[in-house]
Structure formats: C-alpha cells, structure tokens
C-alpha cells in the first residue's frame, strides 16, 4: 500500500517539475520575443519612409538605417537560440512564429528596395542571424519565410500607388513584373488549407491593384514607352545564352 502511494506521488511530482520548468522557459522566451517584436516594429517604421513623397529619393539611406537595426534582430535571435533546446524548436515555435514572419517581411522589403529582386532564403536567414536548415539548429521555418513574402506583396501593392503619387511612373511596371513572378512562384506550391493558403489567396488582389495602377497610367499616356523591365530581361537573357 505504501509503495503504491509513494509511486503515485513520485509520478505526479516529476510531472509537476516538468511543467514548472517548461513554464519558466516559456516566460523567458516571451520576454525575448517581446523585445524582438519591438525591433521589428522599429524597422518597419523606418521602412515606411518610402511611402512619403520624398521617400523615393531617400531609399538608400532608409535601407541603410534598417540594416543597422537588423543587428538588434540578430542579437535577440542569438539570445533565443541559447534558450531553446535544439530539438524543441517546434515546441515553442508559436511564440516567435509571428515575429519571424514579420522580420522576413522587413528583410525582404529592404532587399527589394536595394536591388529590386526577391530575397533568397539564405539571405533572409543571414539577416536574421538564424540557420537555413533545421538540422543546423535554430532556423527560419519555410512556412514563415513564405508568409513573409506574402506580406511583402501586400506592401508593394501599396508602394505602387504611392510611387505614382510621388511622380515615379516607371516603378509600378517594375513592381508588377516582380509581383507576377512572385505569383508564378506561389502557384507552384501545393498549399494546405492553412493560414499560408489564406494569405496566398489575397495575393491576387494585390496583383489586381497593381495592374489597375498600370492601366491608369497607360490610358493617360503616363507609362514610359520603352518598358524598362523587358529591356533588362532581354539583356540578362542574352547574357545567359552567351554563357
């Protein structure tokens, strides 16, 4: 009888200990993630400058500012990395899922503004200071990365509108080209019926918005005659064939 009750107590006590330690860890993670969210907001605020009338000319300066702030991001992730046991990434993933989507988005936006190209996964991971592959430790989840790209599409549709307001009539065409590439890419994926799928469904509205902008420009003769995108494309094609 005594042995039975003792084992009872032992079993439940060890579980109690388990949930207590887990609870503590969660608290610590939450604190770091809160700081990380703050940084993400700060970067986004900086990048919002491009929507201002003067913003287009200041793009390099804005990006540089954002790049500096990414150091904080790397610092926070490093801290988080030291807290989360390497084989339990997905146990606590929910805590930083949203913030890493947000950060992928701001990283992708920075890269787009700098080079007008799609951020690579490796590039994003490097900017965030995490690994690409799960086996290497604290990494950037693929679904989070893709979610970040969809946030980017949202932002760029808005950017197209504002760049016209600021008098840059060339930009929407380039943006449209970029977005259609993104759409093409996402159409290759077989998405499950989850949040990523839902977000993807809104991509077509962003595309539509940009097409409307271009339509408005072209019927008023504001669209440049020589399409800058296709010209660039042609060049790069020839290069590719040449090599």
């Amino acid at each position: 009888m005594t042995t039975e009750t003792k084992s009872f107590a032992e079993i439940f006590q060890s579980f109690q200990k388990h949930i207590d330690t887990e609870q503590d860890l969660r608290e610590e993670i939450r604190l770091i993630v809160r700081d990380q969210e703050q940084t993400a907001r700060r970067i986004l605020t900086v990048l919002q400058g491009v929507h201002q009338p003067e913003g287009l000319r200041e793009i390099p300066a804005i990006c540089e500012k954002a790049r500096i702030l990414f150091e904080d991001v790397r610092k926070h992730f490093k801290e988080l990395k030291s807290k989360v046991p390497s084989d339990q990434y997905y146990k606590f993933h929910d805590h930083w899922r949203f913030v890493s989507q947000r950060l992928t988005f701001v990283a992708a936006l920075t890269v787009y503004l700098e080079t007008e190209s799609l951020i690579e996964r490796e590039q994003a991971a490097e900017m965030l200071g995490v690994e690409v592959d799960r086996t290497q430790g604290f990494h950037l989840d693929l679904e989070d990365f893709l979610m970040g790209l969809l946030y980017l599409a949202d932002e760029l549709a808005r950017f197209a509108v504002n760049s016209v307001t600021a008098g840059d009539y060339n930009r929407p065409t380039r943006l449209a080209h970029f977005m259609s590439q993104l759409d093409l890419g996402f159409r290759l994926l077989n998405l499950k019926n989850d949040s990523l799928r839902k977000k993807f469904d809104s991509l077509k509205y962003n595309l539509k918005k940009i097409e409307e902008v271009i339509y408005d420009l072209s019927i008023r003769g504001l669209k440049p005659q020589i399409d800058p995108v296709t010209a660039v494309e042609e060049n790069s094609r020839e290069d590719a064939v040449g090599t």
């Binding site: 579980f15 890419g185 077989n190």
Partner: protein
Amino acid sequence: MSEDKQDKKVAGGPPWKKGGRGWKHKIQEDGDDLSKLQHQVDESLPCVKVFRKFQEELDAKHDKYENLVKSSRDLTIESKRIIFLLHRITGCKEETTEKLLSEASIKIKELQSGNLRKIAEQLQDEDIFYYLRSISPGLQEYVEAVSFYHYLKDNRLVGFEELQADLVFHEENDTSSKEDSLLSKQVLVPLPPQDYMLGIADLTGELMRKCINSVGQGNLEEPFQLCHFIQNIYDAFLSFGNTPGREFTRKIQTLRQSLKKVENACYTIRVRGSEIPKHMLIHVFNEEISENLECDLTV
C-alpha cells in the same frame, strides 16, 4: 459530361445562388489554368527554380504529416480494441483472466513492434514537435490501453519512464547485413509527458466503466479500490491546475464526473448493499447514475 452536371446544377439551384456557382466555376477554371501553368512555366526563370525547391520541401513535410496521421489512427483503433478486450476480464475466473491478460500483452507487444516502430522510424531525425499534433491522439490512446493493462495486472499506475522505455527500438533486429554499423543506432517515439498525463486522465474513464461493470457482476470489493485509485489521480490533476494546457481543463472536468459516479456507487453499496440482493443492486445503481447525469446536465 461535366457540362451535363453543371446544367443540372443550374436547373436545380435557386437563381440567387447563381453568383455563387459562377464563382466556384471560376475557381475550377483557375485550377485548370494552374495545371497548364505547371507544364508551361519557364523552368529557366530564377524564381521558378527557387520555388520548385520550396515546393519539394513543403510536399515532403505534408506527406510525412499525412502518413503519421494514418499511423496514429491505426494506433488509436488497435488501442481501443485492447481496452475492450481488457474490459472482458471483469467477473471472469482466475484462469480466463490470466488468458485475457496475456492476450492483451501480446497485442501490446505487436503494437509496439509494428505500428509504433513505424512511427519511430518516420520521426527519426525530425523535430517531433512539428508532427506532434498528427500522432498525439494515437499516443494518448496507447497510454490509456497500456496503463489499463498494468492496472489490471499489478494494480498500480504505470510510470512515465516505463512507457518511454517501451518505445525505444533498436535497429539491429531487421538489418542482418548491416548489423555491425547499426548496432548502436536506435530509434524512438519520444513520449511527451503531457500526452502521458492526458492518457492517464482517459484511463480514469475506463476505470469508471470497470467499476460499474464489476458491480453488475456482483463484485462489491472492487469499486472501493477503484474509487481510491481515481481519487489519487484526481487530487494530482487538481494540483496541476490548467498550466499544462487547455486540454487539461477539459479533461479535469470529465475526470470529476467519472469520480463522482464511482463515489456514488461506493456510497450506494455501503448504504443499501446489505439490504438488497446483489442482482438487484445493479438496477438501483443504474437509476442513480442516470439521475445524476440529469443533474449534471441541468447544472
């Protein structure tokens, strides 16, 4: 053929639903476009190359998840069968009890070397928490079955470590040629403590059923033992509170109901057991339970 179907739909559906149908139709077209697109896409585009990689990775993840869901369902079904088998023990003679227990033990072993091993192999080198939601119902049912077995066999609560130890498999069994290189390698299904506890909470439901059955068989000793056992578990769960997760709160409520039924059963046996013939007792008892259930519902 598809046109016929659509015609029917138009004829059958109310006019105000036409818009909806049209939209659905459009989606379908989109789907067709998509499959065409898949063949037509210019594979040399850099963005296509990048996304092809993503596609592969996502598909692999989804496939694995689905496979694990299937394994988990099988695990649930088999575990349920074991529980039913164990319920048959109530009121049996010594030898039949032994026979049923050994039969259950064999089934559990089969489950471990078959289904659970398969799950372990699929989870190898993966972060188990990514796939946890796919297998956790199966794992809980398994914990319920095994802990029920151990309770009936030794009248005790099986420990977490004991269950985990059963879920470690050594690779050398099935690879005779590569035996040397893989000798040390092992695969395991990591059992999360949360799932263990939730399985134990389910166990109390089975114990409650067993208690009612045993009264039906005229056994007036067993309910008191079971009551004591469930009380212990209930006390522990209360002390956890709802920190371990939302599921716990729900389970605690069910646990409380089971416990109440068993306690009422014990009460009835004490009060009226001596005055009513055994075979009548079960009727009294069932009435009381249904009354109690009604009360619970109204509250």
